[in-house]
């Protein structure tokens, strides 16, 4: 048993990776799904044990193949990436029980083997990119996850052919982003001669005035900005989320962009540091305005959408704005908000997209007019949308409130009044688009010609409600999440300066 725990960091990535080819060989019925489920649950177990280890006994450094860093690849787990691992594998563990019926409905049954293979690869890439302590390795894993994500998005083509163009655009922009990231890594390597993140952090301080280092920083931020859909580089996101199969949207919306945010955090605070002049300037003159624009333009665009999946996709753009804003604030409270929101936003959007998947299972497309009057016929699904929607708005006793609390706290600590006001103003925009749906579902008349609609099956409702309950549970008892996030923020800011 101790051997298992000793190699947990490697198993976290290796198990999903090795099971992917196995999965592609499986053909019939439920087998691929079952394998993916088992792997996800194992990954969840692994990430929990890693987080416990980290919180108990400090950072874990695992040397791949026993090659000592900085020459070998090191898997380095500290509080922040253990937390992100937990988010990714946790969402996957909840999304898969939900996935079976939804995928059976939306994806060609003959392709389930390939579908779940792509899913497992995507999971592998996200987990690997998070856990690794090697900058180039991050690129490789993120490309594994991105390539499989393009495939997963394109799997929605059976429902709507626009999934193909969405996947294509995602591919082009994603590749440009990844290539920018590699250029940045290359420039850093050119100057420091190392790829290990800890080693980079040690070797950089005397070199901060080097142009190549600064250019490398810019390339990394822009590259990851594309991947995390930072405004105005978000154009791939709405269509990709809208036309992907429901399960894929649930998984990608709650995890993919989060990992990119994590990578940005890692480079900003571990590799570089807010005390470097050019990093500090980025916060105030680039992140801050872009984050605020994202919050407003994302929310405003969401208000005008008729397709509900696209509506929440635009809302994701706005929510990513909150995360970037937390970074821009540059203090412990702001950074706590960012790290918290990684988790909290995964819960909200996971629940919302799951609920939309339930609706899609019953009535096909999910438009604002299509759901009119459905609140009565699918009471559990729409109660879930209402609950998660409240969390998105940031009503107290939900996780959304906790994130916003810290965000506003951070703004006030800096004395940035207008920013605090803008944060609340943008959450009011969320009230409008969430309420549009609630009003249509509960107080609208059913469109003519729609027969009776039955509630979604329990197999999908149970994971959905697990997410909704988590939205409230972690909103009322935020001790666990805030203490991890606060610890992360304190390490980042303490270590960087």
């Amino acid at each position: 048993m101790s051997l298992l725990f000793e190699h947990m960091a490697a198993l976290q990535v290796a198990v999903p990776l090795l099971s992917a080819p196995v999965c592609s060989l499986l053909r019939g019925g439920r087998q691929p799904w079952f394998l993916a489920l088992a792997v996800s649950w194992f990954a969840f177990f692994a990430s929990i044990s890693l987080l416990i280890q980290v919180l108990d006994s400090g950072d874990i450094s695992y040397h791949m193949g026993n090659w000592a860093p900085p020459f070998g690849i090191e898997y380095r787990v500290d509080a922040i990436n253990a937390f992100v691992l937990l988010i990714i594998s946790g969402i996957s563990a909840v999304a898969l029980p939900y996935a079976r019926l939804s995928v059976a409905h939306e994806v060609d049954p003959r392709r389930h083997g390939q579908f779940y293979t792509a899913y497992l690869l995507c999971l592998t890439g996200l987990l690997g990119g998070t856990i690794t302590g090697d900058a180039f390795n991050i690129f490789v894993f993120l490309e594994i996850s991105s390539l499989s994500a393009y495939v997963l998005v394109a799997a929605g083509a059976r429902q709507d052919r626009r999934a193909l163009t969405a996947a294509y655009n995602y591919l082009v922009l994603g590749t440009v982003g990844a290539t920018f990231f590699v250029i940045g890594i290359g420039l850093l390597y050119m100057v420091t001669g190392t790829l290990n993140i800890t080693d980079l952090a040690e070797r950089l301080p005397p070199l901060v005035d080097n142009r190549a280092v600064q250019a490398g920083f810019a390339f990394i931020i822009v590259g990851m900005g594309l991947k995390l859909a930072m405004f105005p580089m978000h154009t791939w996101l709405p269509n990709a989320y809208t036309y992907a199969p429901s399960t894929v949207t649930v998984f990608l919306a709650s995890t993919a962009t989060k990992v990119s945010v994590y990578v940005v955090l890692r480079f900003l605070f571990t590799v570089f540091g807010p005390s470097y002049g050019f990093v500090g300037l980025t916060f105030e003159y680039i992140f801050l305005p872009l984050a605020i624009l994202a919050m407003f333009i994302g929310s405003a665009a969401a208000i005008y959408q008729t397709n509900l999946k696209r509506l929440f996709a635009y809302s994701s753009v706005a929510q990513l704005g909150y995360m970037v804003l937390g970074i821009a604030l540059g203090n412990v409270a702001g950074l706590t908000a960012t790290v918290l929101h990684l988790f909290n936003h995964a819960l909200m959007k996971g629940a919302l997209f799951m609920a939309l998947g339930c609706v899609a299972l019953r009535i096909g497309a999910v438009s604002i007019n299509g759901v009119r009057g459905l609140g009565r016929e699918m009471p559990w699904t729409f109660a879930a949308i209402a609950g998660a929607g409240l969390s998105l708005i940031g009503v107290p006793s939900t996780v959304g409130f906790i994130s916003k609390w810290y965000l506003i706290l951070g703004a006030l600590e800096n004395g940035w009044w207008p920013v605090a006001v803008l944060i609340v103003a943008s959450s009011l925009l969320a009230v409008i688009y969430v309420w549009k749906i609630i009003e249509a579902a509960y107080f609208g008349a059913a469109p003519e010609g729609r027969g009776p609609v039955s509630e979604a099956p329990l197999e999908m409702l149970a994971p959905l409600w697990l997410m909704v309950v988590a939205n409230f549970y972690f909103g009322i008892d935020a001790d666990l999440t805030t203490s991890v996030a606060g610890k992360v923020a304190a390490t980042f800011l303490g270590g960087g300066s």
Binding site: A157, R162, Y168, V176, M190
Partner: protein, 129 residues
């Protein structure tokens, strides 16, 4: 100035290649050409890595026991990985283009956008009626 440019001619070439690639990705409406641009863009990065591995006077890193200067082998290895990623991306991109061509009957961005916009308008009209 000229000296500085000439001394770093490899970097200048890489930058030119990079910009050509990026320009093609942005400016071309043909989906296949976009992928070609993407390839050029990525290739320039491969070259960047290869060129920074060069050590003046260094030879291939084959251990013969004699003290020699080697070129750095690590970037070569890295770029092997990146090439694999690049090939996978290209293959997937082309696969998508084939599927797009099958369902839209075109690989020109303008045609596809027009078709999508028409679909969108129908959807909105249905929603409003």
């Amino acid at each position: 100035m000229l000296d500085a440019i000439l001394a770093h001619y490899n970097y200048w070439l890489i930058i030119i290649l990079m910009m050509i690639g990026l320009y093609i990705v942005i400016s071309r409406g043909n989906l296949v050409k976009k992928i070609v641009g993407l390839n050029i863009f990525q290739t320039s990065v491969f070259l960047l890595y290869i060129t920074l591995a060069k050590v003046t006077g260094g030879t291939a890193p084959i251990l013969t026991g004699k003290p020699e200067i080697f070129s750095n082998p690590l970037p070569h290895v890295l770029i092997l990985t990146a090439i694999v990623v690049g090939i996978a991306t290209t293959a997937l991109g082309f696969a998508l283009v084939v599927r797009i061509r099958e369902s839209y009957g075109s690989i020109e961005e303008d045609d596809i956008l027009a078709a999508e916009r028409a679909e969108e308008e129908i959807a909105v009209k249905e929603a409003l009626s």
